[in-house]
Symmetry: D3
Subunit: 212 residues, 6 copies
């Protein structure tokens, strides 16, 4: 039995733009991934609304800086075989980072954290797979339009940058944008069908990495 940690933001939490609310458990992509893996792995979902790669955002009482909480999760869920990281959309807010290149640097740091962590029983670091989120699309919703004004252009660059980073670092890679599209209801989130697609699309990549 393998153990997989899915570390992400509202796309991993399962934010439903039609609600707002949270998609049912079985519809979220980590649940779909677990189902697709057919009992070969336990999938732990750790998605936080607003989470960034490595940038502070104190607009919530929950620490949104992925670099600050990831070490804790790596220990509390150890031993792990694979960490899947899908982050970057929230980095695109103009007052958080606003540039795809910044998210690439942040993702590099998260890979370093996974690989350099002191695991509780001295076990080796798990494998890492980085996943680029689907690009933002236009939306008539005014709050999200203001918050992600530059995200449409910048988020479309993430797939190429993350693919290059995966090559440079030997991490796995999957472009969630190859199988899912953001909802025009708010421009960044996923309906149930599209979040499920990520789990289905990702499953063969994970099976390959874990030899399942």
């Amino acid at each position: 039995m393998k153990t997989i940690l899915c570390f992400g933001d509202s796309l991993t939490w399962g934010y439903d733009p039609a609600g707002p609310g949270r998609h049912p458990f079985d519809d979220r992509w980590p649940s779909v991934l677990q189902a697709e893996l057919g009992g070969g792995a336990r999938v732990i979902a750790e998605g936080l609304n607003g989470r960034t790669t490595v940038f502070d955002d104190f607009a919530s009482g929950a620490d949104r800086n992925g670099a600050r909480v990831l070490p804790t999760l790596l220990t509390s869920h150890a031993p792990l075989d694979l960490v899947v990281i899908m982050l970057g959309t929230n980095d695109m807010k103009p007052f958080i980072c606003g540039r795809a290149f910044g998210a690439k640097q942040g993702m590099q740091r998260l890979i370093d954290i996974v690989r350099g962590h002191d695991y509780p029983m001295g076990e080796p670091a798990p494998k890492v797979l980085i996943m680029s989120p689907p690009a933002a699309c236009e939306t008539p919703e005014p709050d999200f339009a203001a918050l992600f004004e530059s995200a449409r252009i910048e988020s479309a660059k993430l797939a190429g940058l993350y693919a290059a980073l995966a090559d440079e670092t030997g991490a796995g890679f999957f472009d969630a944008g190859s199988v899912a599209q953001t909802s025009p209801l708010d421009g960044v989130h996923l309906d149930a069908e599209n979040t499920g697609s990520i789990g289905r699309g990702l499953a063969p990549v994970v099976r390959d990495m874990l030899g399942l």
Copy 2:
């Protein structure tokens, strides 16, 4: 379907003193609790080795101060119906806190955090149940004996203090020491039988709190 977050330390992680290692998934008390609830609830385990209530301990790369990471977990696992907190043993290390009374203050703070948090969809705070860990016992293991030298006396006070705190704050309470005993292998951890006992003992209290 109810959702329950179990927030704890190595006793919740499932540290096996005979290993050292981690008890199999099905043997850990949160898993046993989920099984006992018979499909009525999803139980999320968040146990970190060395976690304290509210005290810093930088001897690990993972943030062990429960007050700093709890807000993040309350959001990433929302909406929640119940948060079960079993902490206090690590507070008893002499250079962390060393006094049962300090752990009571820490537990009070964690209850305040659960109740004052800004939940992502504006939902009301979940219920809280605080659980006193089984008291430490004597051990011939030298490292643990040094680390928990005053824990035998102080940890035995936790049940009384937490029961009083639960009364004062309207939280639920369960004394894990009423159904489980620590292992003399290291003086603080639980064998598989005893961690399971906690899940079985806790189940009726949880059913009562959640109307299951």
Copy 3:
């Protein structure tokens, strides 16, 4: 006797653009407010030059992130009947946040802090009134012009955004820009007459909220 905490930045501190210096005590808007309330309330001024809603700014030895120091002030001045928050101008610095929408998110967080705080005697949370600062104007002063280059456009949006936020959250609201104008000496601060106007304009709103 009611107690009111005024939490703000240099506009609350009483920064005099003609000095530079600090306006005399009696001229600052919190003092004027107290005078207007005619003995019905004690008004505590807590204005810090450069304070933001929730953004870090380490260009000063004083912590400028409002979210980090507000909990301390809520306890040291408890019990409180009302917290008036006027912030947002410093969020408009391009390297702090630069967008009115970011300040709205920050203000939302400060409201959450007031409402979720653990008050020392268990008393209920005070009421909250959010106040939009007067919009920035053009200035020939080169340092301030550089620092607030985008503030003229963005700060003019704060009144609308804060009014909407007050509606969404049930907080009180007052637009300081409806009674006061920033000085062209530096484009963001207030002369004595205009700071006083805020206290006079705010008084009936406060009387209404507190039943004075």
Copy 4:
């Protein structure tokens, strides 16, 4: 008109052991000091329950480490003529510091902060007066007895240590224990009469330091 900041803990906040609650405004020692100074000074009270000199205590949602919040207060209340610091009692909790010598080191740091701070208008640092709190006494109240078990012995040493520190650093000094006694109701707090005595006893020292 002089401005004085009183930086302290629950003894400065005005915690009433008979309540529990807060002493009326006019009974607290900073208010009494202001009255004694007869219009020559404005006295700002900044007392936080549980505040330590320089030690972290996360048992409250308010930051209790005096060294972390003092810089902010030095700026928000500038320009200041005098800072009076009465802290040390909470340092005596066994899991915070527990030794009078630690409080002396903490007080030294607070003096350094006052003297090295970057004041907003470049004004010189205010004068500093350090004040030793009245020593703890025996109490039948169980929670406070547990919390301050070693405070009776250690807090009695503060007056001598602070007097020596004042000599070494050129700070002013006043021993609050020379005019006030703690209440046996909880062993550390002051009744209305004794908190007032501190204001009356301190006034001539302040007048002398400020040339009033």
Copy 5:
């Protein structure tokens, strides 16, 4: 014998754009400065890749915020006669600060830190010399071009802003851009010849400040 601390970023570390790698010890500008001073001073180099003046950047496991680590270095290398600070290039990254004016504010803060620090033996603060880095130039290297897209315009303003700040604060000043040029290999770093030029150009200014 005088002691000089050189506090900087990759330009002080000796990042070689042709490598990438680190220039040999003798080629880095602090080493050249020491050689030029002919035995009159010990020069300590503290250059961190990516260091900013006062901005957080969590894209590395090393704390890049200069304001957070400078106090530690001022104590560990005390007693000091002079602190030379060359920072600002990394502030120009669009998601760190992006504006020359922000770097000026950061540099002001670092000067305040040097002057207000509590030196271990109570010695007076060392002198400060601030140095503007050579302006960024165009580069075909895609990662650096993305990272420093606005740096060419903004970094060219640093010399003027820092010169004015030095005047306002009484600090020493040297424009490294007057003797060195950045390499087109990455647009921001220095080849061996140009890093050496800074040490040679700076030496007479340092001799003058230290009376060597």
Copy 6:
């Protein structure tokens, strides 16, 4: 040419108990070590008065928690061949940690940091050598006697604990107490002769580890 970082506290800084003051550069043990290595290595001294392994101590304006600043130094002095760590004495202060066992845990964390760090050019981690400080002795100096009251017993345990830790982790080890004794002037510091002895005693161990 090898590069060695010596990471320590006042014993590494060169605190002279007879001064108080700092031993001349050539007398400090890192300088002596460099001389003994005869040109084969550059030795960088990073000793901070009061530094602990991993414990916070806010009694100074310099961050004394070794775990927080070590990553920065590992990057600013990279590439490194060896990191020598001598810490533990300050952990023995009763309100910092007070137990030798806590220092062992802290030292374990520092080893983990060295080994898991993301070095700037992707180079492998340097070797680590941990060094136990000479045990504290009795002193008539009252401040130090109070500060290190329990250090005499506890610091004598460090050599055995660190030797075991070195074995467990594959780090190098040297017991400075085998060649040097603390001065009775303050009970913890070293006179010039004894600090030099550490450099001389350590040299053959370093030569062996680095193949010099």
